[in-house]
């Protein structure tokens, strides 16, 4: 049972990704009590899974580390991982919220020594790496995990493995009988920063994702390029582990498509260009083709586009890819499209294809929750008429990290205003 006292002067932030962390910190540093809940066993959300940011090609952990330090020294913030909102009722200035905590089976005595993981034999799919590799069922979600504490997967709780983990722990940190629990909060405002999910690439059936192993998504590419990813940073074909000699990036895989996501996901052009630089850095001989409809590099991000265009190994081809087929013998992929600059029909073979899948917002989906305005795509609209619950970051529009942070800062202020009005 969580021991947390809040009042209608407090702010609840839902989602511990970049936007949620930012909203929580900005409000707390202005002197407000904040409770942050995150459903994963660690904070950091999607950015924690990225290898680098565009356009600076710098590691996201750098900024996260600063934010975690801000959080460590600020007693105004309480945060809960493996926590979700089960219920919200009330109105601006006075919400009653029930938070559900899923069992971690590891308590706060964990010193992160790693002995449970050594003792555990069972392995599970590594969701942090989108299932591209396996991890022990007693695991640290990733090296920079904050809070730095192990997790026991529910699948081993009642097995020998679970017992072994418990026996080997010298600190009594493993509690296999830990159960789901809930606690209630009273808050004055809510910031909804639940982030986004990548569009389900299987739904674009003509790209063969899930069927052809060498078709991957852009989020998988980030893990693959990360030194702590499934391939230790090497960009290898999933089918045979071969180093890539030519690779295709397929833009608007789902986005700008009325059959899938009618909106533009805003970041994918730059993400693919960034990933092209990953490939170039590791495999200088690899040829890279980026297939696009329009290149959308707003403001100074245009500089990055200019820089990437200067690389002679990277070509931009204006074509929406219409089909991918696989050569079963080699695992190579045949891409078909129309080069709309030349009118030529394209048939190009690649070792690997990366689908630039778009963003799907995690909208407020809690039975009985107060109505929050959303557009037809599920993005939250901060309607001044329905103040009190505010979207922040990619739940409002598909956007990059800097804009999400700016937006999260503004949402923190809106939450403060809700409290000031009471």
């Amino acid at each position: 049972m969580a021991d947390v006292q809040t009042t209608n002067q407090s702010i609840l932030v839902v989602g511990g990704g970049m936007s949620g962390i930012t909203s929580a910190l900005e409000a707390a540093e202005a002197g407000y009590d904040v409770v942050l809940v995150e459903k994963n066993p660690y904070l950091g959300g999607r950015v924690a899974q990225l290898y680098q940011y565009f356009p600076k090609l710098c590691p996201p952990n750098c900024g996260l580390e600063i934010n975690f330090r801000r959080m460590r020294q600020n007693s105004k913030i309480r945060f809960f991982t493996m926590a979700e909102v089960a219920n919200i009722s009330g109105s601006e200035g006075n919400y009653n919220v029930t938070i559900k905590l899923s069992p971690r089976y590891v308590n706060d005595k964990c010193t992160c020594c790693g002995k449970c993981s050594d003792a555990c034999e069972a392995e599970i799919d590594n969701t942090f790496n989108f299932g591209m590799d396996k991890i022990k069922a007693a695991y640290l979600p990733h090296e920079f995990a904050f809070p730095m504490r192990y997790v026991i997967d529910p699948s081993i709780v009642e097995t020998e493995d679970g017992k072994k983990c418990q026996e080997v722990c010298e600190y009594g940190a493993i509690e296999l009988d830990m159960a789901e629990s809930t606690f209630d909060l009273n808050v004055g405002a809510v910031v909804w920063a639940a982030g986004w999910n990548p569009y389900e690439a299987e739904k674009i059936d003509y790209y063969g994702f899930g069927e052809y192993p060498n078709v991957i998504t852009n989020v998988m590419m980030e893990r693959m390029a990360s030194p702590n990813g499934p391939t230790q940073g090497k960009i290898l074909r999933p089918s045979d582990g071969k180093e890539v000699k030519n690779i295709a990036f397929i833009q608007c895989a789902g986005s700008r498509d009325e059959n899938h996501l009618p909106y533009c996901s805003g970041i994918c052009c730059l993400a693919s260009m960034k990933q092209a630089t990953y490939v170039r850095e590791r495999h200088p001989d690899c040829d890279i083709s980026i297939f696009f409809i329009d290149i959308r590099a707003l403001d100074r991000l245009e500089d990055f586009y200019t820089k990437v265009q200067e690389d002679e190994k990277i070509q931009f081809i204006k074509s929406k890819i219409a089909n991918i087929s696989e050569d079963e013998a080699t695992g190579n992929l045949l891409l078909e499209g129309e080069n709309t600059r030349t009118g030529e029909q394209l048939r190009m073979t690649f070792d690997m294809a990366v689908l630039a899948t778009g963003m799907v917002p995690n909208k407020i989906d809690i039975a009985g929750a107060p109505e929050v305005a959303a557009d037809e795509y599920g993005f939250v609209i901060n309607d001044p008429e329905k103040a009190g619950i505010y979207g922040a970051g990619c739940v409002r529009r598909p956007t990059d990290v800097a804009s999400s942070v700016a937006d999260a800062t503004s949402s923190a202020f809106k939450a403060i205003q809700s409290i000031a009005r009471r």
Binding site: E26, E29, A30, K56, C58, P59, P60, N61, C62, G63, L64, E65, I66, N67, R70, R72, Q73, T111, C112, C113, E143, F144, M148, E170, Y171, S226, R256, P262, Y263, C264, G266, D294, R296, A297, L298, D299, R300, L301, D303, T306, T340, R341, T342, D375, F379, I381, R397, P398, V401, A402, S403, V405, A406, D407, T409, S410, F413, I416, Q417, A420
Partner: protein, 743 residues
């Protein structure tokens, strides 16, 4: 304060197996006054913490040294309140997990680490937050009364704070006020600009004081205690503010530079701003003869995305042209609009408005204009149509609209020149040199800061006073001054609203933190601040020049005048000072020097080199932790000393270390240069520059230059750390032991 010090060693997590703890407690604390020393099998557990708490309560312990895991974990467990100094000594990630157990070198490493911790704890004082003599203000000064400025003021007021809004025109509104309609969320149809309502709301809000026809003549002081001189219709007014939002907007790119597109040559070639004003005024007609328009062509990226003009994308022009095409169609449904574009950039849900513009029958042509001309009283445009692969001609045009881009109001038309430093290479005949954008002397007048480092916010290369950080978009180089809206980067109205609210949030937060003597980002909450021992100051100006945030002014005799509320606590001034007169309560030249001195230097014949690694706590130190968690191995001869920022590195530490026999100095800091990652902007770069002067010291001591090395270490570079260390140790082995050992 009278210190009562206790040392606790945790023997859990393999520490007890790797080390002789009894010997560690003895040797590691020998030279220090320690009142209590204990070990515990699990110090972070409830019983372990209870032991410490009991000693604090019963023995009056007020200084606690904990030899256990990294300070980055269990920070909450080992927090005993504001009156107890806690010093963490890393025996786990940097010792037990990475060094061979029960080894002499491992033991010596642990002992040195503990000695350094004891030394630091001895020199650490509890912080006494800064309190200015002046009365603090929490009001927000907003400069610029357009959409961003008005929003910043309104949002501030809604949160219960006061705002002062200064606008140079005689009425509020900025470009928003000049627009007929706007395109904004949810991007289905044109929307009312809302300018009139917003202006009315600002004027009706009693928490907002509006100054129109006014300019900011001078801002002095610092966050919490800004004194603002405003010239209001010729009268001088003074206001006080806690923080500032600069929302001075943009100006259209000068279309006179676009004569290749017919501007200035043909009356019916106009800019999108002129088009908007014409539409807002009533009817869109041909400027040449006032006749109605039937065929209109929009040329996108007129100047933008062009290395000859504006290399960046102005972000809004696609939507603006689609909006104006809608005006044309609304006026005459039979009219035809052509849009000549490079890429259609309607990101996010704005794609819906592109669809609307297509649905309206506007004709989009992907390509670049090659000629704009006139024939028979009508305009024509020739263009390379990328999708037809032909040069095409669009004739019979009544109006050609150039979608000119946004230039930040801060960008000077002509780059100012200043007197060049003596060693400058590209100075002109008069010894003058162009000011760089990241200088406070570059931007157009808006704030007029009475700062030694210039009157305006430093900008990025195109003149935008934007943050260089992705994670921290409100970071500026002047504490408590935040930019918002299109002065910061080209942005559409929907984004400007959010951006301005965020800037107001930062402004209010800065006032709140400053009022209680706390630092703002990135060391938010830090209650220490630099104190100057002026008796020994030699007026060398290094601190006033190097402070990345322009915190230190100068008097006419070049004495530094610190402004603690502007300070970000990076310690760059402390590192810069050759006289060592700048100190924080828990971080000073003497303290780090003493820590280094507490490291035992074995005799030469023991063949145990000693290297000091000054390591940035923001990125390199967490990376080292990661290397520890991954159980990587490296030399046991390196002693890590944590820096707030490598920019706080003082050369005296290097000189002192080398003169007492330390064999080498390794510096680990953040990436610098164009894509710098230093959280204090200039710290890492300054450390590197300072290092170029270390050769003097080395020459004086007749030592090899290889003994001192700077490496950039990013937070995810942990895989590289063992190799960096091993390579350096190899170098040290090659140059041989430091001859000053035992002196």
């Amino acid at each position: 304060m009278d210190k009562k010090t206790a040392v606790y060693i945790c023997t859990g997590c393999g520490i007890g197996d790797a080390l002789n703890v009894e010997q560690l407690l003895e040797e590691g604390t020998e030279e220090f006054t320690i009142d209590v020393s204990k070990d515990h099998p699990c110090l972070c557990g409830v019983e372990g913490v209870e032991v410490i708490k009991k000693d604090i309560a019963d023995e009056g312990i007020n200084t606690v040294i904990i030899g256990a895991c990294s300070y980055r974990v269990n920070y909450d467990v080992f927090n005993f309140g504001p009156d107890v100094i806690v010093e963490r000594v890393n025996l786990r990630e940097q010792v037990a997990w990475v060094m061979p157990p029960e080894d002499e070198n491992t033991q010596e490493l642990a002992e040195d680490n503990l000695r350094m911790g004891c030394s630091k704890a001895k020199d650490t004082q509890l912080p006494e937050p800064f309190k200015a003599e002046e009365e603090y203000s929490k009001d927000v000064l907003v400069v610029g009364g357009g959409i961003a400025g008005m929003t910043a003021a309104l949002e501030t007021a809604k949160a219960g704070y006061k705002a002062i809004l200064v606008e140079k025109e005689d009425k509020l509104g900025g470009f928003l006020g000049k627009m007929k309609q706007s395109v904004t969320m949810p991007y289905k149809e044109l929307a009312d600009t809302g300018a009139a309502e917003m202006i009315a709301a600002v004027e009706a809000e009693e928490k907002i004081k509006v100054y129109t026809s006014s300019t900011v003549e001078k801002i002095s002081g610092g966050p919490g205690i800004f004194s603002v001189d405003i010239k209001n219709n010729g009268n001088a007014v003074n206001e006080r503010a806690g923080a500032v939002v600069q929302a001075t907007g943009w100006v259209p790119y000068d279309a006179n530079k676009l004569d290749h597109l017919g501007y200035g040559k043909f009356k019916d070639v106009i800019t999108n701003v002129e088009m908007e004003e014409m539409a807002a005024a009533g009817k869109i007609t041909r400027p040449s003869d006032g006749s109605p328009v039937k065929n209109v062509l929009f040329i996108q990226c007129a100047g933008s995305r062009d290395p000859e003009h504006l290399p960046y994308c102005s972000s809004v022009c696609c939507l603006v042209s689609m909006k104006q095409a809608t005006y044309v169609k609304e006026q005459d449904p039979e009219a035809v609009n052509y849009v000549l574009y490079k890429d259609v950039r309607t990101v996010g849900q704005a794609e819906d408005f592109y669809r609307k513009a297509q649905q309206d029958g506007n004709i989009f042509i992907r390509g670049a204009a090659t000629e704009v001309g006139e024939a028979g009283g009508k305009l024509f445009v020739e263009a390379d149509d990328e999708l037809l692969g032909e040069n095409v001609k669009i004739e019979d045009l009544d109006l050609v609209v150039l979608a000119v881009g946004m230039v930040p109001a801060s960008k000077p038309a002509v780059t100012p020149r200043i007197k060049a430093p003596a060693d400058a290479e590209n100075a002109d005949e008069e010894g003058m040199i162009e000011v760089l954008p990241d200088s406070g002397f570059f931007a157009n007048s808006a704030l007029n800061l009475a700062y030694r480092q210039g009157p305006e916010l430093p900008t990025l290369k195109y003149g935008f006073p934007d943050s260089h950080f992705i994670c921290f978009p409100y970071e500026t180089r002047r504490t408590g001054i935040y930019s918002a809206g299109c002065v910061k980067r080209p942005m559409e109205t929907a984004k400007a609203l959010d951006d301005a609210a965020g800037a107001a949030m930062k402004a209010v937060q800065c006032s709140e933190l400053t009022a209680v003597g706390k630092a703002v980002h990135p060391r938010s909450g830090d209650m220490t601040y630099p104190e100057f021992n002026m008796n020994r100051c030699t007026q060398c100006k290094r601190c006033t020049e190097e402070c990345p945030f322009g915190a230190i002014n100068e008097d006419e005799k070049a004495n530094p005048l610190p402004n603690p509320t502007r300070c970000r606590r990076c310690g760059v001034c402390m590192g810069a000072c050759p006289e060592r007169i700048i100190s924080f309560k828990n971080y000073s030249v003497g303290m780090i020097g003493n820590m280094i001195k507490s490291v035992n230097v074995p005799e030469e014949d023991e063949e145990k080199p000693r290297v000091i690694c000054l390591i940035c706590e923001n990125d390199a130190l967490p990376a080292l932790d990661m290397a520890g968690i991954k159980r990587m191995k490296w030399s046991p001869y390196v002693r890590f000393v944590q820096m707030r920022c490598l920019g706080s590195m003082n050369l005296v530490w290097i000189a002192d270390s080398l003169s007492r026999g330390i064999d080498g100095i390794l510096l680990m800091g953040c990436r610098h240069g164009d894509d710098y990652q230093c959280h204090f902007v200039k710290g890492s770069e300054l450390a590197n520059t300072r290092l170029s002067k270390v050769s003097e010291t080395l020459d004086r001591l007749a030592l090899e230059s290889e003994r001192v090395k700077f490496v950039e270490v990013g937070i995810t570079d942990y895989e590289k750390i063992p190799k960096i260390i091993d390579d350096f140790m190899e170098t040290i082995e090659e140059v041989g032991p430091n001859p000053y050992k035992g002196w």
